[in-house]
């Protein structure tokens, strides 16, 4: 019988699910994903996790509980680092322990460590150990690893082309040559936030869909190449050591200089540590440059949908007025904007995510 491996639809699912899914499926396992976030899932997470924990981690607990009863293994890698010299967030480092110590009746956890902190480290050891846990032969594991990297590569180029993660995941699995999405001449609004906040429909209160419905095209950090965000983030006084936050900050700086971007929405989690630092850096830069209207949304479990919608509508109205050429009613408007960035938003070379995949091209590091 096929073992069932559960993967929670939370946290870095939005970045790495295709990698994990392809790997487990190639090993002959069945991958079971928790359902989309809803009130019940969130409610269970809130009950289980401590009060002080940030919303995304609480939500992850909810998804884990949803899976706990119906899978043979729970895949919960310890994500220490996905890029040299960088971490993600202390909570990612401790998540498997937090879960193991607080949730009863868990299936066995597969909590292999992903640690690319040192230069030239590779993902292979992580996958090798994961394969061992499932008692698979080394060659089978290696083949699965290569397939996983290939699928992740496809996924990342779809992301870069402007697909939202869940769409890109579906397309990457089919390996089809899809038409690129419509990119009509629409005003752009940059949405800067952790992927697990902005792409979760329930948590973000359909922010991206609302923007599209209002006739603007949301652009995010995931649509920029790693080089671009790195170059932009390098203008900071010190290298940021959190991968997600570095990407968000770099992307924000890039979009602040892109003449087509008409507004910026920063989405933060209540009580998120890294956001409190990078949000400050981004907002200060935006204010200093002063020509892109900026909206800060902080999400927590008590955020009322009505309040968010009102603020969003007011913000969009303001953008509209700016576009109409009228005098801005509130906040600054673009005047004498700097030249557009040097890159197109779609169809860039390079890799959207920290160097996970490039190594796929040149032989696996069999260590």
């Amino acid at each position: 019988m096929k073992p069932k491996v559960g993967i929670p639809r939370a946290l870095l699912y939005y970045y790495y699910f295709p990698l994990w899914r392809a790997f487990f499926q190639s090993l002959g396992a069945e991958v079971s994903l928790s359902g989309p976030t809803n009130k019940t899932v969130l409610g269970r997470g809130l009950k289980q996790a401590g009060d002080d924990v940030c919303l995304p981690v609480k939500l992850a607990f909810g998804h884990i509980l949803e899976l706990a009863g119906r899978v043979d293994y729970l895949f919960l890698p310890r994500l220490v680092s996905v890029a040299p010299g960088e971490y993600i967030c202390p909570k990612f480092l401790g998540l498997p322990d937090m879960v193991r110590q607080t949730v009863d009746g868990l299936p066995p956890l597969i909590d292999t460590t992903v640690d690319l902190y040192r230069r030239h480290s590779s993902l292979w050891p992580t996958f090798a150990r994961t394969g061992q846990r499932l008692k698979c032969g080394r060659w089978l594991v290696y083949a699965a690893y290569r397939r996983a990297l290939a699928e992740q590569g496809r996924f990342e180029s779809l992301l870069r082309a402007g697909r939202p993660p869940e769409q890109a995941m579906a397309l990457a699995a089919r390996d089809g040559n899809e038409q690129p999405p419509e990119t009509a001449e629409q005003p752009l609004v940059a949405v800067i936030g952790h992927p697990y906040n902005i792409y979760d429909h329930y948590i973000s209160m359909n922010l991206l869909q609302r923007l599209r419905a209002a006739g603007v095209r949301p652009v995010t950090a995931e649509m920029l190449s790693e080089e671009t965000v790195r170059r932009e983030a390098a203008t900071l006084p010190k290298r940021l050591f959190w991968t997600l936050s570095r990407r968000m900050t770099g992307a924000a700086f890039y979009y602040l200089r892109d003449a087509r971007v008409q507004g910026m929405i920063h989405v933060a989690s209540f009580a998120c540590g890294p956001d409190s630092i990078t949000g400050e850096l981004i907002e200060r830069r935006a204010r200093r440059e002063g020509h892109v209207p900026f909206l800060n949304l902080t999400l927590d479990e008590h955020t009322g949908e009505a309040g968010v919608v009102t603020r969003l509508e007011a913000f969009l109205d303001m953008l509209q007025r700016c576009r109409g050429g009228g005098v801005p009613a509130a906040g600054p408007c673009r005047d004498g904007a700097p030249a557009a960035g040097t890159e197109e938003t779609a169809g860039r070379a390079g890799c959207a995510l920290p160097a996970l995949v490039p190594s796929a091209a040149g032989g696996g590091n069999f260590r």
């Binding site: 909570k91 937090m98 607080t102 540590g273 956001d275 409190s276 850096l281």
Partner: protein
């Protein structure tokens, strides 16, 4: 060789005279200013952290920044008013926020119009050359030998202060006259602060010990409680609302999981001094529960709690600033450990009244439990 080097003038170069300040963290200023002044650096110690410091930090700092960042910021604003022009701070390379404190604070100060020179000491594991260059920059013409002597002097002071604190922790629950320990501690601390040269230290330490020894005590049963958590909140009485004194007055002998000199040994001397408690033991003890470093002192918090449980302590109190990431990870694990724990989250709204009530309730609980433990030795852990 112990004499003070003459004050270094910068008038022959483009660098302006440097008046160095640093953020407060409990009694760390004693050790830092001793070291810098020994090296002829002029130091502006920020006024002790106060309500005003906090108000300034909260007003200008990011809303969800942790409490230490806000207090640091307040310290810098107040030190600026006292004439400081250079900030000396430690850095870090993650995963915790502390590594980016200096840069964010600097950006905020710049926007406020307080132009500081920023000297960040990044951890020596990485760019040792850069660190040495920065030390040279701050200390001017001092020779390396003098720098080493200065560091030794500062460390000596840290040891002395820690010894006094430990004595106060032991005496306070047993003192015959309420308040006598705290008064003696203040006097003894002043003696240590006033020792201006390394050669004065032995006499000052002896005198301080005498002062502490003169506190009259009574033999009475006391509870023993370990205090763990985020280092700044542990070391800074203003941030923890003077919890050690309050517990002492409730009849509790406290032990703090980390003292300044231990921190210096772990982080500046890279644990080279062997004869003292080190974070390695705590991390080893934490491994079954939290098997990876999570930044800050998260793993040490879990490990120290395990060690306190093994050592037969009555309870453990965890202190953390609101939104502190490593301690939140630790917090979710503490209830699994076989010892009663109380977690106190400190932020700008923490009030004394609430704290006192919670401490009293916790102490009551420990007393009840202690009695039960005595009468029913085989009782299952509560």
């Amino acid at each position: 060789m112990f004499c003070r080097p003459a004050y270094k003038q910068y008038d022959d170069c483009e660098v302006l005279p440097v008046k160095v300040t640093f953020p407060h963290m409990g009694h760390a200023w004693i050790c830092l200013s001793a070291m810098l002044e020994y090296l002829g650096v002029s130091v502006v110690v920020p006024p002790p952290s106060s309500k005003r410091t906090l108000t300034l930090g909260v007003k200008h700092g990011p809303e969800f920044a942790c409490l230490p960042l806000k207090l640091n910021l307040g310290n810098f604003i107040e030190a600026r008013e006292a004439g400081a022009d250079t900030v000396l701070m430690a850095g870090g390379c993650g995963p915790c926020r502390f590594g980016y404190y200096a840069q964010v604070e600097h950006a905020i100060l710049e926007d406020l119009g307080h132009h500081y020179r920023l000297v960040v000491m990044e951890p020596p594991q990485r760019h040792i050359g850069e660190l040495l260059a920065k030390i040279k920059y701050v200390t001017g013409q001092s020779s390396w030998w003098q720098v080493v002597q200065g560091i030794r002097f500062g460390y000596c002071k840290a040891r002395a202060v820690d010894e006094l604190e430990m004595a106060a922790h032991r005496l306070r629950p047993r003192e015959a006259v309420p308040g006598a320990t705290s008064a003696a501690f203040k006097d003894a601390l002043r003696v240590v602060v006033q020792a201006g040269r390394p050669a004065d230290m032995p006499a000052a330490v002896a005198r301080a010990r005498e002062i502490m020894a003169a506190v009259a005590v009574e033999a009475r049963p006391v509870l023993r409680v370990g205090i763990v958590g985020e280092i700044y909140t542990l070391l800074e009485p203003f941030a923890n609302l003077d919890i050690e004194r309050r517990l002492g007055e409730l009849g509790v002998e406290v032990d703090r999981s980390i003292y300044l000199s231990e921190w210096i040994n772990d982080h500046l001397f890279l644990g080279l001094l062997r004869n003292m408690r080190s974070r390695r033991a705590a991390c080893r003890a934490a491994a079954p529960y939290l098997n990876h470093c999570v930044g800050g002192h998260g793993q040490e918090t879990v490990g120290s709690t395990v060690l306190y449980a093994r050592a037969g302590y009555d309870g453990v109190i965890q202190l953390l600033p609101f939104t502190c990431m490593p301690e939140i990870v630790a917090h979710s694990i503490l209830p699994r450990l076989d010892i009663p724990t109380l977690t106190l989250t400190m932020d700008e709204q923490s009030g004394e009244a609430g704290l006192v009530t919670r401490l009293e309730a916790f102490v009551d609980l420990l007393e009840q439990r202690g009695k039960r433990r005595v009468s029913l030795p085989a009782a299952a852990p509560a």
